[in-house]
């Protein structure tokens, strides 16, 4: 039977800067979101108290992968099922994820960072700022060198864009430097990181980025940003073959 306690969830919520940094990891299926989380855990679990929430569409496979990777106490990795709507659960109805974040923060208090992995969706899925304080969008070189140029809200305006699996670049004919340059341009200078779990330097840069965001969060200087439902883009027409006007959809 449920207990008849009198605290309400809304009442119990501390100020954002006084609770764990909630860091979202979004990106298309297969780009290495779980693997990136494993890398963050490996790099930071000695110095930070971490928790992980995975959003899976069909199963708890991502949670099982992370548990078997042995990078964190299995109890600190929690799956939630997003059913048929993985993008809904991280954007328009974040209830289940918020409850899971509050639970894990309470059960392992105090936590420094809660990593929330989205269910692999498409290029348009991003987290609501009501759920995460900051978000990483993950692409991989195997998805093709032109993906970064095509843009999208996550590519354009996530707090960090990761171009993952750079070690595969020679095998898939992608020029990593060009892809990073394209991404940097699409993001108007926002952070881009070329990552490979086998390249220690890149993992170290990822680690440093997380620590920097955490420091800003704790100082109350970090303001969660919504990447938006769509990135600004232009429509080409007959009179303006190179693009008539640039706009964003509200």
């Amino acid at each position: 039977m449920p207990e008849t306690a009198t605290t309400s969830p809304a009442e119990a919520a501390p100020a954002a800067k006084d609770r764990a940094l909630r860091l979202g990891i979004a990106g298309p299926v297969g780009t290495g979101k779980s693997s990136l989380i494993a890398s963050v855990c490996r790099a930071l679990s000695e110095e930070l108290r971490l928790g992980v929430i995975t959003n899976d569409i069909y199963t708890d496979e991502d949670a099982r992968f992370l548990r078997s990777a042995g990078v964190l106490d299995p109890e600190r990795i929690r799956p939630i099922e997003t059913g048929a709507c993985p993008h809904t659960a991280i954007r328009d109805d974040v209830t289940a994820n918020l409850m899971a974040a509050e639970d894990i923060e309470r059960d392992f208090a105090p936590l420094d960072v809660v990593l929330i992995e989205s269910g692999g969706d498409n290029l348009t899925a991003t987290f609501s700022p009501a759920l995460v304080d900051a978000q990483i969008f993950v692409l991989d070189v195997a998805g093709g060198g032109d993906v970064a140029r095509k843009g999208g809200p996550g590519i354009g305006r996530a707090d960090l864009l990761v171009v993952n699996k750079t070690d595969l670049a020679p095998h898939v004919g992608v020029d990593v430097e060009q892809m990073v340059a394209d991404a940097t341009e699409a993001r108007e200078g926002r952070a881009v990181l070329a990552l490979s779990r086998t390249d220690e330097g890149s993992v170290s840069a990822l680690r440093q980025w997380v620590l920097t965001v955490l420091a800003a969060h704790r100082a109350g200087e970090h303001i969660p940003q919504d990447p938006g439902p769509m990135a600004p883009h232009f429509h080409a027409d007959e009179d303006h073959p190179d693009g008539g006007y640039v706009h964003s959809h509200a």
């Binding site: 039977m1 449920p2 309400s8 069909y58 708890d60 059913g83 048929a84 209830t95 289940a96 919504d226």
Partner: protein, 238 residues
């Protein structure tokens, strides 16, 4: 981003009812198919969906509706008498009576998670509502529906129709994902399902005692839900 709005007080009871019936309500409800996916995955035929929904309405949905109605009535009574003690007892007795009529642990578990999500939303909407503060941390969804109805002054019959509709609409929406056909047919199923228990609405709405909550269990349905909790490759929790 807009400035945080501060109060949801003053909404008409009917408006609150409409909001609760809206599938876009952000309370985590989109993970439920009202047991339809468990049934279809267990091999129930597409041609039996109509029958399934009719059975579901007069068993699980009326049990939920009865629990909600008893909670609504009891909390309103307790509010008039200012008897906090008796409302705590009523909540416990009603949860128990509902649980005894919902034998599947998996079904109770999902109802509790949905209830928690709805309560989370409700306490954000009405932070000062004394009625909502009496609920536990994870009451089942029918209990939260009853409490919200009491707070928002929703009529008992409206509440019963709301619970039945919500359950049927979730199944119909799931059907369109799992085995899509003409969407209009799914809406016909919803209206037909609600109409099929219309003659029970007044009686269930008038319930005041937990022991009188309808107890027509659908054992096969509960078994499917129980089994579903242990499967993978599912789109819905239950």
């Amino acid at each position: 981003m807009l400035q945080s709005p501060t109060s949801a007080a003053g909404a008409a009871a009917q408006t609150v009812g409409l909001m609760l019936a809206d599938s876009r309500l952000p309370s985590g409800g989109h993970v439920s198919s009202s047991g339809l996916e468990p049934a279809l995955m267990a091999g129930m035929g597409r041609d039996q969906v109509e029958e399934y929904m009719l059975v579901r309405a007069r068993t699980a949905a009326l049990t939920d509706a009865g629990a909600a109605a008893v909670i609504r009535h009891g909390l309103l009574e307790a509010g008039q008498n200012e008897s906090g003690q008796s409302s705590a007892e009523l909540l416990t007795r009603t949860e128990r009576a509902w649980a005894a009529r919902t034998p599947s642990r998996a079904a109770r578990q999902i109802a509790s998670e949905l209830g928690r999500g709805l309560l989370r939303l409700a306490t954000s909407l009405w932070p000062d509502a004394a009625i909502l503060r009496q609920l536990g941390t994870a009451p089942s969804r029918p209990v939260v529906m009853g409490a919200v109805a009491a707070h928002a002054q929703l009529e008992a019959e409206e509440l019963v129709r709301l619970v039945v509709y919500d359950d049927a609409a979730a199944a119909a929406a799931a059907l369109l994902k799992l085995d899509p056909g003409d969407p209009a047919e799914a809406m016909i199923l919803v209206l037909q399902t609600c109409a099929s228990v219309e003659d029970r609405v007044a009686g269930v709405a008038a319930l005041t005692e937990p022991s009188d909550i309808p107890s027509s269990a659908a054992v096969q349905m509960e078994d499917w839900i129980e089994h579903h909790a242990h499967t993978t490759r599912r789109l819905f929790r239950a």
